[in-house]
Point group: C2
Chain length 402, copies 2
């Protein structure tokens, strides 16, 4: 056993295409630093601590650690449990029984809350425990970091997918003039905005991107916008966050609450079917919706290489911080330069992150509220290995009768 006791690593919140790269980063760095005894993984985040389901990561074969870099989803399993004072105290007692003195907790805003509660409970118990949060969220809504591991890969997938969906609608606009693409992103528009990153010029779709930061007036306001875009372009590809609400805070699906998670986030039914029906009924335009859903969050075959590398690096950085004795902090990514893109890891107090959200800044949303700015493209393109390779467009060379 090393001088520093044992190290625990856990994964929490929604899984991503690169969260296992962070896991690999933690394990590899811990093996190199040789400051810890065992390297222990908790199954399903804090749940695995409370139920003592631990896996020995230090004894995994090297080739499995290598494969983690290209394996999506959370290899340890994940959770959305929120710690109470009672469960936090119990978790600390269990950590003590396993001589776990350092925790690398991979997750988003809610997971930072879990990490803080764990650290507070340890302090209350007089138990020496360091806890460092490793950022992970496709929503890209963590404060204090330039961007979040996981975002680059969903952004790349959606930039590619939206570009292809736009081409599909172009080819068949007379039959299917309206297409909705329903995307994730919780209360921020970062994920929706990524669908613009494959646009190849003014007027290219998606024609309407709805941001939670710029809600439509109401369902009929949204329909009016679709009609105007149709009048202008002869077709409409519209991107809607699955959580989109109108200006009064009503979900666009017009349906009842589906459930509320332990962190108070409300989940509503998919708006795609309701919007599709409304466009057909009210505008008389045939409409479809695509809902890549969890596939977008998880698609491993075309992750961003920048994202994968950074996900690994924030894991390794967490171990360095733990070795140095840091606690109650989250690793951040600090951008050094846009072109060529460069970033380093930094650090922020976890209290500035937990349960907070960073929404899209005004400078990234176009004045029409339905597009992105060049500033956003400059920000986001390096994160998706962009720009994307161009597609062919036939030259408009009409063939005329002899």
């Amino acid at each position: 056993m090393g001088a520093g006791g044992n190290l625990l690593v856990a994964q929490s919140g929604g899984a991503t295409a690169v969260i296992n790269a962070s896991l690999a980063g933690v394990v590899r760095a811990a093996l190199e630093h040789r400051q810890f005894g065992a390297i222990i993984g908790a199954r399903h985040g804090i749940d695995g601590v409370l139920t003592e389901r631990f896996v020995d990561l230090g004894r995994q074969p090297a080739e499995i650690l290598d494969q983690l870099l290209t394996t999506p989803s959370a290899a340890l399993g994940t959770t959305r449990r929120r710690l109470t004072d009672e469960t936090a105290a119990r978790a600390v007692r269990i950590l003590a029984q396993y001589d776990i003195r350092a925790v690398a907790y991979i997750g988003g805003n809610d997971s930072a809350d879990t990490a803080l509660r764990l650290a507070a409970a340890a302090r209350d118990a007089g138990y020496d425990l360091r806890v460092v949060s490793v950022p992970k969220t496709i929503d890209n809504d963590l404060p204090g970091t330039d961007h979040c591991p996981g975002y680059g890969s969903i952004a790349r997938f959606l930039a590619l997918a939206a570009r292809d969906a736009v081409r599909d609608t172009e080819a068949t606009a007379a039959l299917y003039p309206v297409k909705f693409i329903e995307v994730m992103g919780r209360n921020a528009g970062w994920v929706a905005a990524a669908t613009a990153l494959g646009q190849d010029g003014d007027g290219d779709g998606p024609h309407l991107i709805f941001f939670p930061e710029r809600p439509p007036r109401d369902l009929h306001g949204l329909l009016e916008e679709v009609q105007r875009a149709y009048d202008r372009h002869g077709q409409v590809v519209a991107v809607v966050p699955e959580t989109l609400k109108d200006a009064q805070g009503r979900p666009l699906s017009g349906e009842d609450l589906s459930w509320t998670d332990p962190f108070g986030h409300r989940y509503y039914p998919s708006p795609g079917p309701a919007l599709t029906r409304a466009v057909e009924e009210h505008l008389g335009l045939r409409a479809r919706f695509d809902k890549p859903g969890t596939i977008a969050r998880m698609f491993a075959a075309c992750v961003s290489s920048v994202d994968r590398r950074e996900a690994y690096e924030v894991g390794a950085a967490a171990v360095r911080l733990l070795v140095e004795g840091a606690s109650e902090v989250m690793v951040t990514l600090e951008r050094v330069s846009d072109d060529p893109y460069a970033a380093t890891t930094g650090v922020i107090a976890a209290a500035k992150v937990a349960n907070r959200e960073r929404r899209m800044p005004d400078a990234f949303i176009g004045p029409d509220g339905r597009s992105v700015t060049d500033a956003f493209r400059t920000y986001a393109l390096p994160l998706i290995d962009g720009p994307l390779p161009p597609y062919a467009r036939l030259l408009d060379l009409p063939y005329l009768r002899a």
Copy 2:
């Protein structure tokens, strides 16, 4: 102008990730054969003939033809118009005005019908016209060919996506035990079956694949199957074709007809939302659905290289057949060997293809009706550049208290 008059090429039906490779194959082969005068593209299939919207393909720069190989969707635009006797006769008069003597018509079952009607109308008018169909359909349901260009790429996408979705559900089964993946495929299960191609062993998801060839008894029968799979695996990833009907032919969405296309195909609302609701209400299990929709049909970033190459080759083969004087035939793919995979092009009478469907053979569907057989894997894996590279799975090395 060459001895053979002008050549027309058109794209029809649902666009795919590789239909432009077939277009490139036609144009490149026609440029090489030098038997035709102009190489003319019709905008939006037969619609572009009737409205005389023609584009000069012979004068497109070489780099655009190259880019077509990696550009999804139909660069010429597509249509689902069905020719009547009157419109077919009118189309032939227009072809004559442009001295078009050869037509390469890229499409599926319905498009083969269009090609035949065009040829018949030309015969009636005493106009010398050759028409060759170039196969294209993600549904893989054309008779007389081993498989259809477009299928390999959607199959590859869905094999990758389903594998990732299964991993996602594994990581979070306690929260979201049930996931539906809604897929295309019209009346055949080929597309749904492809979701099995990333399975890494017995018991790996998707746990239930519903084939149109093996409909569930009714909605409650389907729910019972979901419950049984949940009892067995603790989680369920179920694949449902968007056209899935029950044994009485009722659509699973339980909703009204959305529309009927000119070829008589009926379109119903997406079953994903209805099934998700039913699982939550009747089984008390939280459920989600992913509906990659047109994105799956069109995702260019990870097409099958075999599919792309074959899509090009069937286009080139159509030109050779036209030069040889063939008409009212469709190019086919004939498999020479599974391992190493090899196939050549062949030919079939278009009358054996038009408006007919090839469904999944019994030998490809597991005895439980919800899985695929090794025979299907042997058939399909070469078409998706398979097998897929393996994912990591942590060894089950529990860490026990000292």
